[in-house]
């Protein structure tokens, strides 16, 4: 309940923040929503020597669509901003489905999507969603900006390829090659529980068939899983139940769950497959309703 001592900086621009990080020699941590970092500091699982609080940096709290359909989510866009956005259900159905099931309503008023992706918790929901959308993180460091696919960003439990002096300034989702559809299903035992299993499925439908598909898996491996083979099984199909079944099977195979007090590995695999099927059926249903 009582964090260790640290130095505190509250920069007002990204450049300033980057400079502070660079000067801190890898001893600093960025504070965004603080909903993962502060709990760890309270338990003293984390004890950074310096905190760079980015909450005072203006202009990072957006989520919006570029004219070309590219979707951008700023580093200070909170989970609740996404949950409460009416426009999101059409623009980004997978994100809209995930937002209400991340953490609890109070954590959601602070926590950020970008922070969650950077935290790289295998049980975090957002990284799977981003992976299913082929999303990327834009990071700014002393040498400027670079874009990193979320699937490449995460290289282990709680590990990313970000340099200690890089800040993720936004998450970017490329424009769709068709009509977006998708869903996120999470098995949790109560609100605020981390996922026992979470599955994100995103597809882009064009001319009645799947032009692009992505499947991300939460909590069933040492890191977020990009079930790319499973997604590939959907591409070119009309999302018929055979195709979805095949994808479900492949997704279950891609999962690397551990048995623990939340469930056995077999069970978790089974839930992965079930959720892929359920999201597939949901999309099917809404496609039919729309038609």
């Amino acid at each position: 309940m009582y964090p260790s001592r640290f130095r505190y900086e509250a920069p007002s621009t990204v450049a300033e923040a980057v400079a502070m990080l660079a000067a801190a020699d890898g001893e600093a941590k960025i504070l965004a929503g603080g909903q993962s970092l502060i709990p760890m500091m309270k338990l003293r699982f984390a004890a950074p020597a310096m905190i760079v609080d980015i909450n005072g940096i203006g202009g990072l709290d957006y989520h919006r669509s570029d004219p070309d359909g590219t979707y951008r989510i700023g580093a200070l866009c909170r989970h609740a901003d996404l949950e409460k956005s009416a426009a999101l259900a059409d623009a980004q159905p997978t994100i809209a489905a995930a937002a209400p099931v991340v953490a609890d309503p109070l954590v959601r008023t602070r926590g950020t999507l970008v922070g969650s992706v950077c935290h790289a918790d295998p049980q975090g929901d957002w990284a799977s969603v981003m992976v299913s959308l082929e999303g990327a993180i834009v990071a700014q460091g002393p040498n400027g900006r670079r874009s990193i696919q979320v699937a490449d960003l995460i290289d282990g439990p709680f590990q990313t390829v970000l340099a200690p002096d890089e800040i993720a300034v936004e998450a970017v989702i490329p424009a769709a090659r068709g009509a977006r559809a998708g869903g996120y299903l999470k098995l949790e035992r109560r609100v605020g529980d981390f996922a026992t299993v979470g599955v994100a499925v995103s597809v882009e439908m064009s001319g009645g068939s799947v032009a692009r598909a992505g499947i991300g898996l939460t909590a069933v491996g040492p890191a977020t899983i990009n079930a790319s083979d499973a997604a590939a099984a959907l591409v070119g199909t009309a999302l018929d139940s055979d195709a979805v079944d095949a994808a479900a099977q492949l997704a279950a195979e891609a999962a690397q769950p551990r048995s623990d007090h939340r469930g056995s590995a077999d069970y978790k695999r089974h839930v992965v497959a079930t959720f892929v099927r359920r999201i597939g059926a949901q999309i099917q249903r809404s496609e039919q309703e729309a038609a």
Partner: protein, 793 residues
């Protein structure tokens, strides 16, 4: 002319709570809200290992931190003969470990500092060198030949067995089984759980060297017992100890025992001569303080083909952790486990019980429960469902056949308890009607045709609440009675104090209602105080639903003593003889001349200004109440559920509760108690448990893993009542605080088992996690045992 009892907030009024006035303003006075001048702060260093020898402890770095005022270790305590303390079950418990640590989270050292952040820094700076020992995490490991001895500190303890105990009629039960047409069996585990009030424990010890007085503010449900314990442990004179239990953020049994943090804060205050505050964090609370349950239950039931129960055999294997510190009456080793089947007409029963030490936290508290009745009733109602299934009988009908009938009271249970009142059949019928039993069975069948799994679970039970009587109930030899003291002031306002201690049950509201009922003094004119041993009369505190049955009865009795004196004063004022004085609520009048009268308030003034010759002035008294029997509330809980066959997730459709707790003092508060209890029942059945991996690491030591349900999952509750007054309680009330937690879990579990009835599965142990339900459905076998922390397949 007569007062309207409801208007003055008497018996039966859903009076709004007095205590709320401060709570809704954020002006409660919980332990952490108290700040004394020059107060220091203490934090505890806990063991990361479940079982290890302590080679050395290096505290020098902690001492070096600016702001650290004292570092305490087991050796320092041992030098003062304080390294061990007695438990509530005639065992000893380490205060700070000296030789070994015996569970993960055990207290190893304490740091006292200017603020808690620095105290935590100090704990982090302590270096302990441990030599790991093999841990024991369940009874079968504990009993295995060659198992490491956990309690090597105790002379004469050559195994990990704490006790072997039996109760009941062994031969009679054997005879019953010999006559059985069918023998039904069940084999279950009731998982380790934690009462987990939202507020954890804490204390502020304030020793004044000049006066030799020790004041301890602490989170305790039983301040007087603590005073006695502190006197014994710290060897201080009892009259120089004042225990104050402030507002408690819930208790549920967790705040009954004495914990090391309390003891060390007291010692630190004595040594440092300033107040020392210890506020436990939630992880510390969950990992080290009084747990509930953790018991294996094996049962056999002898049945006749017509559905009559002939006899029951029970065996329990209980896991007490490293120290036997169950809070329970000293006569009974496994609490009131042998109250099972008290609502049924069971001719013969026998229970054997064995308890063991393991490398887990001690505690065995009565978690919202009257000393293991929760386990007993779960045992009973799960067994009953299995028996009905084995006989191919409807579960409601099987209960109806075996429930004790209204005209059979008083009824002697096979264990020797005397149940004295109830309308069991009526409660069951009311519950079935409310849920629409027949309709639901039809719906269930229809749903089944379409591949959907609906289920209904019933739980009917009576439980013994309100320990004592003092013949049978004592804790460490202190008899279980309770007390009340009433002072009626000159203006007719009153101050009432009892030996109980409210933790959210609303004593400040309901005790005043009893006074209003007995004396006609409006409830709002009665101030209720509890929890300060310098002012409250001696009592045994609040747990086991004993407040209303015992302290509440004392309130009625002391009010009657006051009324008896007031009657004399009234006779004097009215100038008639006492026999000619009649009582109606709040007023004495002259027999035959009802217009001539005096109010209780007028009597109060007279008690200080115009008393009869020879009468002691004042209108004050006290009462110590030793109940003739326990109280026996009855309840029928019914839940309906739908199980998702694909994932094993189950949802509650409806919950109906019929409670008969006798006369309801404040119906609003009674209903609040029932809903709170049902929520904990739901939590037990669905998500709440503590388990351990093979290394003895505690899973469930924070709210990330130890799950309490939120408003979102918690179902709605439909409440109904039946009132059968308690024949021996002065106002006819019975205990209610725990019934729903005790009886509720079986209703949920029975419902899920009913939903998957086609599989032939008889048992899934709590909590009914989706993967366990799914395993039962797909594999068609029982899923029993402690919730597994499975290793890699």
């Amino acid at each position: 002319m007569a007062l309207d009892e409801i208007k003055i907030g008497g018996l039966g009024a859903s009076r709004r709570r007095v205590e709320d006035n401060r709570f809704i303003r954020g002006k409660g006075n919980y332990i952490d809200d108290i700040a004394l001048p020059w107060m220091l702060h203490m934090e505890i260093l806990r063991s990361p290992l479940a079982h290890a020898r302590i080679r050395s402890i290096d505290v020098s770095a902690a001492w070096a931190i600016p702001g650290v005022r004292m570092v305490l270790t087991g050796d320092m305590l041992a030098a003062r003969n304080l390294a061990w303390m007695p438990t509530l079950s005639y065992d000893t418990q380490a205060v700070l470990a000296t030789d070994k640590v015996r569970f993960q989270g055990q207290e190893v050292a304490c740091v006292v500092a200017d603020d808690p952040y620095i105290a935590k820094d100090g704990c982090e700076a302590i270096v302990v060198d441990y030599e790991p020992l093999p841990p024991i995490v369940n009874p079968s490991q504990a009993k295995a030949p060659g198992a490491p001895l956990i309690r090597d500190d105790k002379t004469g303890q050559d195994s990990n067995v704490v006790f072997d105990w039996e109760v009941g009629d062994r031969e009679g039960t054997d005879r019953a089984f010999a006559q059985a047409d069918v023998v039904s069996t069940i084999d279950m585990h009731y998982p380790r759980s934690h009462p987990s009030p939202i507020e954890a424990c804490g204390s502020i010890a304030d020793f004044n060297r000049a006066t030799s007085k020790l004041t301890v503010y602490m989170t305790t449900q039983a301040p007087h017992i603590i005073r006695a314990a502190v006197a014994l442990v710290a060897e201080l004179p009892e009259h120089m100890i004042r225990i104050v239990s402030p507002d408690l953020g819930g208790g549920f049994g967790n705040k009954v025992p004495v914990y090391p943090g309390y003891v060390v804060s007291i010692l630190a205050s004595i040594l440092l001569e300033c107040p020392v505050k210890w506020i436990e964090d939630k992880s510390g609370n969950l990992i080290s303080t009084g747990f509930g349950r953790d018991i294996y239950l094996k049962g056999e039931m002898a049945l006749r083909n017509d559905g009559r129960i002939l006899g029951v055999r029970m065996h329990t294997d209980s896991d007490h952790g490293a120290f036997f510190s169950d809070a329970q009456p000293s006569k009974f080793k496994i609490g009131l486990m042998h109250s099972a089947f008290s609502c049924y007409d069971v001719p013969a029963a026998h229970l054997t019980a064995q308890g063991v030490y393991t490398n887990k936290a001690p505690g065995g508290v009565a978690y919202r429960c009257s000393f293991r009745v929760t386990e007993a009733m779960y045992f009973q109602e799960r067994m009953v469902q299995a028996a009905a299934a084995d006989l191919g009988m409807d579960q409601a009908e099987f209960r109806r056949i075996n429930l004790v009938r209204d005209d059979d009271f008083p009824h002697r249970t096979p264990w020797g308890f005397l149940t004295d009142s109830g309308q069991y059949g009526k409660c069951l019928d009311l519950g079935l009607e409310a849920i629409g039993y027949e309709d639901f069975l039809r719906q269930k069948e229809e749903a089944r045709q379409r591949g959907r799994l609906l289920g209904i679970g019933i739980s009917t039970m009576t439980e013994p609440l309100g320990a004592g009587n003092s013949r049978e109930y004592d804790i460490l030899g202190i008899k279980m009675f309770d007390s009340a003291e009433l002072k009626v002031h000159m203006t007719g306002k009153a101050l009432l104090r009892t030996g109980a201690k409210t933790q959210g049950q609303g004593h400040e509201t309901t005790w005043a209602q009893i006074v209003a009922h007995e004396l006609g003094i409006p409830a709002e004119d009665v101030l209720v105080e509890e929890g300060d041993t310098d002012t409250a009369p001696f009592g045994m505190g609040t747990y086991a639903s004993r407040s209303t049955p015992v302290a509440g009865a004392a309130v009625a009795m002391v009010s009657r003593k006051i009324r008896a004196k007031a009657r004399k004063i009234a006779a004097h004022l009215l100038e008639v003889s006492e026999e000619d004085v009649e009582w109606e609520l709040g007023r004495f009048s002259v027999r035959g001349a009802p217009d001539r009268g005096v109010t209780i308030q007028e009597c109060a003034i007279a008690a200080y200004s115009n008393m009869p010759d020879g009468m002691e002035p004042g209108l004050e008294n006290n009462a110590y109440y030793d109940p003739p029997n326990l109280t026996w509330p009855f309840a029928c809980y019914i839940a309906t559920v739908e199980v998702d066959p694909e994932t094993g997730v189950w949802d509650v459709l409806r919950v109906v509760a019929v409670d008969d707790c006798g006369v309801r003092i404040n119906p609003m508060i009674v209903e609040g108690q029932i809903m709170g209890g049902l929520t904990e029942a739901y939590a037990m059945a669905n998500m709440q448990f503590i388990t351990f991996d093979e290394d003895g690491n505690c899973i469930g030591s924070n709210y990330m893993d130890y799950l309490l349900p939120t408003a979102w999952e918690t179902p709605g509750f439909e409440l109904h009542e039946v009132v059968t007054p308690c024949p021996h309680h002065p106002i006819g009330a019975k205990g209610i605080g725990e019934c729903a937690t005790v009886g509720g879990p079986a209703a949920f579990v029975n419902a899920v088992i009913d939903a998957i009835g086609d599989t032939g599965v008889r048992n899934i142990d709590m909590p009914l996690l989706p993967d366990r339900v799914h395993e039962a459905i797909t594999q068609g076998h029982d899923v029993s045992g402690a919730p597994p922390v499975r290793t890699e397949p």
